[in-house]
């Protein structure tokens, strides 16, 4: 049974075909020590379904000894780092899709003023957003 319904997969396939511009590498880190990590398993299954919808997306999975797993990193045209800790299910799935599109395009819907201020940042900034899937 797929995590994303077949109808939603088709909608997503069309959306990704219309919006993705350049390749995105989706990197998943799974627990090396906990072979029964259910969130790791769910994340991998979800990402396999998503990346199968577009040849522009590739999934790369590796094991980590870090406790911060599952961790998903999106690598493409983003200038900074974009990561998701935990399964991006439920309400977080649209956020993941939006992030994939923006990383693929290397640009966002932020205003010109905002983009100018971000380009002028002179020090590192870590932004953590805490969420739940429901």
């Amino acid at each position: 049974m797929p995590l994303i319904s077949l109808a939603d997969q088709e909608r997503l396939r069309t959306e990704l075909a219309n919006k993705l511009e350049s390749p995105v590498r989706v990197e998943l880190e799974r627990h090396a020590r906990d072979k029964n990590c259910k969130p790791c398993e769910q994340s991998e299954e979800l990402l396999q379904e998503i990346t199968a919808l577009s040849t522009t997306l590739t999934l790369h999975t590796r094991l980590t000894t870090s406790e911060l797993a599952p961790a998903i990193r999106l690598v493409g045209k983003a200038r900074g780092q974009v990561r998701f800790l935990g399964v991006p299910a439920g309400y977080e799935l649209p956020s993941l899709i939006e992030a994939l599109v923006d990383v693929s395009r290397g640009q966002t819907e932020l205003s010109e003023t905002a983009r100018g201020q971000l380009n002028a940042l002179s020090h590192r900034v870590q932004v953590r957003v805490f969420t739940t899937p429901t």
Binding site: A78, Q81, P88, L118
Partner: protein, 64 residues
């Protein structure tokens, strides 16, 4: 918006944290409701922010 800032700026690391899977991190930041935004472990916001308020917070936050 956090990921958008990271797409636009090499200085920004954006991380979305699912609190039921990472309760220790959530507890460390006193997360009792979501969404909650924490910038450089020092500035916190509860709920959604306007773009203007978010970007201002990023530019004014103390260095880590």
């Amino acid at each position: 918006m956090a990921h958008q800032a990271a797409v636009e700026s090499r200085q920004v690391d954006a991380e979305v944290v699912e609190i039921t899977e990472f309760p220790d991190i959530a507890r460390r930041h006193g997360v009792t409701s979501v969404p909650k935004l924490v910038i450089n472990d020092s500035v916190e916001f509860l709920g959604s922010l306007t773009e203007e308020r978010f970007i201002t917070a990023l530019t004014l936050v103390p260095r880590q």
